[in-house]
Symmetry: C2
Subunit: 293 residues, 2 copies
């Protein structure tokens, strides 16, 4: 299937991301519908022109109209949704999602899917501290990464469709990764950093320290304000990879502690010099990315 | 001694902090001199009006002119400096420093000091990524904390003088803490956070990850670009307290890993809810501080 203007798109789940998808796709001229159990969310999206029509239950006669379906729901919910409702879905339709972990989702979905349907996982690396369709805003995709995670079950044509979807949504960088590489990357860059921030923030009651709090502590704990329901599910779905990344960090942290304990100043300095060098390289490639775009 | 306008101030060590002290005090109308082994630094400070005169060696006839001496040198260097040169210092002079750790410095200095002299440790919690007198700028003190760490050997009058110095320099918050409380606070808020950032940055070569790097990883590693000579000395001087804070963090991090490993989702969520609540409180008290100032 090609991503032509006559394709009808269904968003299942009208939260912050689902709502922003709907807005971006409607603005791009596509016919967009939505299903969400919260009637208020459907009404909000209708009133704001994010969708042209919607339902607050999985209406079979409605579902069968769509060529493309985007699941913007918690993974455990949308896998059940597919099981229960896929007999309604149009022949040869294309399905995708917005979940932040891939390995534990993509293969499960592809394993239960009707053979004429095709599912490719995608991860829009965008978000806000707030949630809900009321905060939807397609601008969150500007400058952000969109990662497509196909498997050997997917056709080149559908991979292209999924990449085009990311472009139409307004993402800056579209990448293709295996589900495994994606999960390793996310385990390290996003999940591990959240684990560190959470652990630091719960160390002690910082009330009496608040007047001394400087930028360092503030920077390191910014992401410790977290949606516990969503993130605990993401951690659990990526458990194996996340534990690997946590072990990696813990090993370095323990080594540094050991060097300090043993007054091995040269080893402490070596580690500091390596971190300085890598951070500088990081800043350089970020600057280069800015110039190239 | 009171901090009157006729007091002559000597800055020993013209780096970023020493230079910024000199600039602020000269601008406030005090007579300021400096000693630094680098003639270029002295010349730079003279040319820019940060000091009225200076020396590039510990000239006894020069040292004896000053009522107040500020040591803006690495701790191990200025303790030796005091040992070698304190016989030149004017009777009843007041001495202070700018070191980031206190317990291991303050008692040592007070232990070797001539009985008519008085030393109070102070920690200006300000700095820049750059160093050297060329980057000196008294603006770095605006909005920053200045912590005075007296012991029972110090007089009320000198404590007041030291606090007034902080005000004249332009600091926003002036606090008094024991050297021990100071070191615990710094061990947690500053040194531990730097240890975490360094450990995270050396985990892996992030070159191939750089295109996916988002705000989380960038925030958590900003301070991993670090002056290895200065920070390794600070870590070593505060070793006992720092190790305690590192243990505290490691314990929470290991607990979180254990909960994830055991699929104990409720405990993971509990920790996330606590971190969210504490971080929100942190933001609130930061906002309140803004309003009050």
């Amino acid at each position: 299937m090609k991503f032509e203007k006559n394709k009808k798109i269904l968003i299942v789940g009208l939260g912050l991301i689902g709502g922003s998808y709907a807005q971006a796709l409607s603005d791009a001229g596509y016919e967009v519908g939505a299903i969400d159990v919260k009637k208020d969310s459907v009404d909000f999206a209708l009133t704001h022109g994010y969708i042209q029509h919607g339902r607050d239950f999985p209406d079979g006669g409605y579902i069968e109209k769509f060529d493309i379906i985007v699941f913007a729901l918690y993974p455990h919910i949308f896998i059940d949704w597919i099981k229960e409702n896929q007999h309604f879905i149009k022949k040869n339709a294309f399905l995708t999602d917005v979940t932040g972990v891939k390995g534990s989702v993509v293969y499960k979905v592809q394993g239960i899917l009707r053979s004429d349907l095709e599912f490719i996982g995608a991860h829009p690396m965008a978000g806000l501290e707030s949630s809900g369709v009321e905060n939807a805003d397609k601008k969150i995709f500007e400058g952000a990464n969109y990662i497509v995670t196909p498997t050997e079950k997917n056709s080149m044509e559908s991979i292209e469709l999924c990449k085009t979807l990311g472009k139409v949504l307004g993402f800056k960088n579209i990448s293709v990764l295996t589900p495994e590489k994606h999960d390793e990357m996310i385990g390290f860059l996003s999940q591990l950093t959240h684990c560190i921030a959470i652990s630091l923030m719960v160390c002690k009651d910082t009330d009496e320290l608040s007047r001394y709090t400087g930028d360092s502590f503030r920077d390191l704990t910014r992401i410790s304000k977290i949606n516990d329901v969503m993130w605990s599910e993401l951690f659990s779905l990526n458990k194996q990879e996340l534990i690997k990344q946590m072990d990696l960090f813990e090993d370095k942290f323990q080594k540094l502690k050991e060097y300090i304990q043993d007054d091995d100043i040269e080893k402490v300095r070596d580690m500091m010099r390596l971190s300085t060098e890598r951070r500088k390289k990081c800043e350089k490639s970020a600057a280069k990315k800015e110039i190239n775009n």
